[in-house]
Amino acid sequence: MVFEKLKKIIAEQLEVEEDEIKMESSFQDDLDADSLDVVELIMAIEDEFDLEIPDEEAEKIKTVKDAVEYIQNNMK
């Protein structure tokens, strides 16, 4: 459920097809994001899931799986 919702956000933010997005995809290595793209993606995730992700946690989110796990563990 989180993954499906996240896929939509990632697809929109990074202009990639949803079926390109796998759990193991790395934002920068596989989905052609640069460091600024990732910052903006994290903001979109915060908005969509009503979260506040501290910078030191955000820096650890490098793959779709990292994001899914963070969201699942921190959803209000």
Binding site: L14, E15, D32, L36, V39, E40, M43
Partner: protein
């Protein structure tokens, strides 16, 4: 002997057409680009009209994701650059990228980005400001993005001198190639300032036409009833190339840039100096640079904004430089059709001058109906003229007292 600089490509994104051919046909027809503003609600604004670029799809010219990371002015610039490079038939794989530059003029840069992000700051706080805010907003990013797109690793800069910006950009590029620091420069201007804040700001200055009932006749340079300028937007890009570089690859040559002059009024932040004395010195300086006599100029594409002051003082300046011959030369303002593209105006009007000497066609000043005794030159009213043009001059005058003139010569 000085290195010679020619124009080998033209790309246009304008309120009266996208692409050089569509634009030039519109200019010849006297097409009018002014209408009601559609990009935002103008309720409460004293001016409700502008010359917007219509039917522009950034994804036709660049990757969708890249387009999202660009302000509208940069999207215009990148699109126009692509069109200009295509038109020039430059093979980017065969040129020395270290001698390939980009010089772009923009008056205000990414104003719509600034406005959106500021609204976000007020509504949602500092943590919601996009990491792309700064790189999208800064005025130099059009030049930066064009360089990335084309791999242009030579001289690169952005000129900000209000409405003179892109004539300065073309003139500076001319000098950079002439002195030997580059062989090809992508130059011109880009502007996308039809935004709520800019419209309100120019309105407060009483600079804009408020002819909301008749948008089609609102931009009427040199007409006695003119009441201010009409904002336009877009980008026009020229490919400038060292003559032998162009000849060696068999390039089409629109014209040669032969003179550039720039001065400052040092007088007032927005009002032109009495009798356009600064503008007159810029024109003289361009003539001196070209080494030609005033009576060799056939056509002036005037700054001609349609404000009471500009048109009156620019006319006085032309008379000061050209004396009696002023009444013999043709002067027109294509802003009557395109609106005022601010920092991109000089790029667009440089393109008009290049096409004028290439096609021997002098564009009209449309909406010209009532003669003003203070503006008494031949403004090519309402209908263009087929006439041989050897030398064309383009003037751009900006807030801050910036004055720039370039001279383009027919290449034979």
């Amino acid at each position: 002997m000085k290195r010679r600089v020619v124009i080998t490509g033209i790309g246009v994104v304008s309120p009266i057409g996208i692409g050089m051919e569509e634009f030039w046909n519109a200019i010849k027809e006297g097409k009018n680009g002014v209408d009601y503003i559609t990009r935002f609600d103008t309720e409460g604004y004293s001016t409700k009209i502008a010359a917007e670029v219509k039917g522009f799809k950034p994804e036709d010219y660049m990757d969708k994701k890249e387009a999202k990371r660009m302000d509208r002015f940069t999207q215009f610039a990148v699109a126009a650059s692509r069109l200009a490079v295509e038109d020039s038939q430059l093979n980017l794989d065969l040129i020395n990228k270290n001698r390939f530059g980009v010089v772009i003029g923009s008056g205000v840069g990414g104003l719509s980005t600034l406005e959106e992000q500021h609204e976000k700051l007020l509504k949602k706080g500092p943590k919601r400001i996009s990491p792309f805010f700064i790189p999208m907003m800064i005025s130099n990013m059009a030049a930066g993005q064009i360089a990335i797109l084309l791999g242009a690793k030579g001289p690169n800069e952005t000129v900000v001198s209000a409405c003179a910006s892109s004539t300065n950009a073309i003139g500076d590029s001319f000098k950079i190639i002439q002195r030997g620091d580059a062989d090809i420069i992508v130059t011109g201007g880009a502007e996308a300032a039809i935004t709520p804040l800019a419209l309100a700001g120019f309105s407060s200055m009483k600079a804009l036409s408020t002819n909301n009932d008749n948008p089609k006749i609102a931009s009427r340079p040199f007409d006695k009833n003119r009441d201010g300028f009409v904002m336009g937007e877009g980008s026009a890009i020229l490919i400038l190339e060292e003559l032998n570089h162009a000849l060696n690859r068999g390039a089409k040559i629109y014209g040669e840039i032969v003179g550039y002059g720039m001065t400052c009024d040092a007088y007032h932040i927005t009002a032109p100096a009495e009798n356009g004395e600064g503008a007159a010195r810029a024109m003289k300086s361009a003539l001196d640079d070209a080494g030609i006599e005033p009576n060799m100029i056939d056509y002036i594409n005037a700054h001609g904004t349609s404000t009471p002051y500009n048109d009156k003082f620019e006319t006085a300046a032309i008379k000061e430089v050209f004396k009696d011959y002023a009444y013999k030369l043709k002067v027109s303002s294509t802003k009557s059709m395109t609106g005022h593209l601010l920092g991109a105006a000089g790029g667009l009007e440089g393109a008009v001058c290049a096409l004028t000497v290439y096609h021997d066609f002098i564009p009209p000043t449309i909406n010209y109906n009532t003669k003003d005794e203070e503006c008494d030159l031949d403004y090519v009213p309402n209908k263009g003229i087929e006439q041989k043009v050897i030398y064309a001059m383009s003037n751009s005058l900006g807030f801050g007292g910036h004055n720039a003139s370039i001279i383009i010569k027919k290449y034979v």
